[in-house]
């Protein structure tokens, strides 16, 4: 993401100019939708999450502090937390129903991946699976480190170190993702 566009969006947000929402959607919508979908694993729910997240982003626009976090980090936190909350409230309403949904949607989701995103696996392969598993659990499944430790049957200390190393390892993807960005930019 060009820092120039980022700066422009930030200044529009600060002025509460609704062009900011449109620009945010164009530049981050797909990624945030991906994040939401990864967490809730249901397209309808993910759309709700994205909509709620954008409303929150819009409401909190003047509280964004660029010295504390990059724009994407801020957007990611809001979307991820909204998605996790959504998932929890849906799970509370009806555990069974959601479990059926999850298995249905999981297949749909895999089939629905567009070709330009197909090299996710290729990119992720650069990261050892033991880190991937921990990152996924913590990033997208809304687990706390303790929950991840219990769920994955990995000691808490190992979870902590794998999160740390995994996050640093992600830097390896950077070179490869540049091609994805170019693809995204060239898309009509």
């Amino acid at each position: 993401m060009s820092t120039l566009i980022e700066k422009h969006i930030v200044s529009l947000l600060a002025e509460k100019d609704d062009k900011a929402i449109s620009l945010l959607y164009d530049n981050y919508g797909d990624t945030l939708y991906g994040v939401a979908l990864k967490v809730v694993r249901d397209e309808d729910l993910a759309q709700d999450v994205l909509q709620e997240s954008f409303i929150k982003i819009w409401k909190k626009a003047d509280s964004y502090d660029s010295s504390k976090a990059k724009l994407f980090t801020w957007l990611f936190r809001i979307t991820r937390n909204t998605a996790i909350d959504k998932l929890r409230s849906v799970n509370n309403k009806s555990d069974k129903e959601v479990q059926i949904d999850v298995s249905d949607v999981y297949n749909l989701g895999v089939n629905g991946i567009r070709p330009e995103f197909m090299d996710i696996q290729e990119n992720l392969e650069k990261i050892e699976p033991k880190y991937q598993i921990v990152l996924e659990a913590l990033f997208f499944q809304g687990m706390t480190q303790q929950e991840a430790s219990d769920e994955l049957d990995i000691p808490l200390g190992t979870i902590k170190s794998r999160l740390k190393i995994g996050l640093r390892e992600l830097g390896k993807i950077y070179g490869a993702t540049m091609t994805i960005f170019l693809l995204l930019i060239l898309l009509p």
Partner: protein, 252 residues
């Protein structure tokens, strides 16, 4: 210092802060370290970049029409927040009016209560006063009407020849009254004062005022063989009678 920074970097606070999973204390600590130590800031920025890279791997094309829905609801939210703002202003004004009128009524109530206390006290005082006067009048009536009451007519001597007074003494009821019916004019700095000698002690009965005391009976302390005096004293009265200025005396 280095150790502290290394310890912080070794903990998972920065990672939790990145994801928005940190507690309030952890967030404050992370923000402090990011601001203070360049190596922490560098790591944080690197983590932020990695997070974005990682998240972008999972990007999915958003469904058609979702953008319009989101833009529409964001605008609606804006209008709603303006409405809320307007309601807030209206509510504030209403609260202020309410507070103002409450204060006004409270204040009014307070002053009415004060007035009420004042009036009650006044009534009590008047009642007391009236009782005393009635008692006085009753006693006067008893004395004047009693067959045992003797009447003494007094005339002034010396400068006060015009002074006329009538004393009513009742030895049975042990009551005595005096009525000063005529007071001669005195120089401005002089006045008449009444005294009674009771059991060898002189008691001040007060100053006789020029007009007000006409036709008014004054109670005298009763004692066997008491003597009443009227003297001319400097204006305002004296603490002890000036013997050479005695203008009238009553033996009773």
């Amino acid at each position: 210092m280095k150790e502290k920074v290394q310890l912080f970097l070794d903990s998972d606070i920065l990672e939790k802060y990145l994801l928005g999973d940190s507690t309030k204390e952890e967030s404050l600590k992370a923000e402090r370290y990011i601001t203070m130590y360049p190596e922490v800031r560098e790591t944080y920025n690197e983590l932020q970049d990695n997070l974005e890279t990682y998240a972008r791997l999972y990007a999915r094309k958003t469904p058609e029409g979702l953008k319009e829905i989101i833009l529409h609801s964001a605008r609606k939210e804006r209008v709603a927040s303006r409405k809320i703002y307007r309601y807030a202003v209206a509510a504030s004004v209403a609260i202020m009016i309410f507070a103002g009128s409450s204060y006004f009524f409270w204040n009014q109530n307070k002053s009415l209560q004060q007035e009420n206390t004042l009036v009650t006290n006044k009534i009590k005082y008047l009642e007391e006063n009236m009782k005393n006067q009635l008692e006085d009048v009753r006693n006067q009536f008893i004395v004047l009407n009693n067959p045992d009451t003797r009447k003494y007519t007094l005339k002034g001597k010396k400068e006060a020849k015009e002074l006329k007074a009538i004393a009513y003494i009742n030895p049975v009821k042990k009551l005595s009254y005096i009525n000063v019916s005529n007071v001669p004019n005195l120089p401005e700095n002089k006045c008449f004062q009444m005294w009674a000698e009771v059991n060898g002690e002189l008691v001040n009965l007060g100053v006789i005022k020029q007009l007000d005391d006409k036709d008014k009976l004054l109670a005298l302390p009763y004692a066997e063989k008491a003597i009443g005096y009227i003297t001319i004293e400097p204006e305002g009265g004296n603490t002890s009678p000036t013997v050479q200025n005695i203008v009238a005396n009553i033996n009773y």
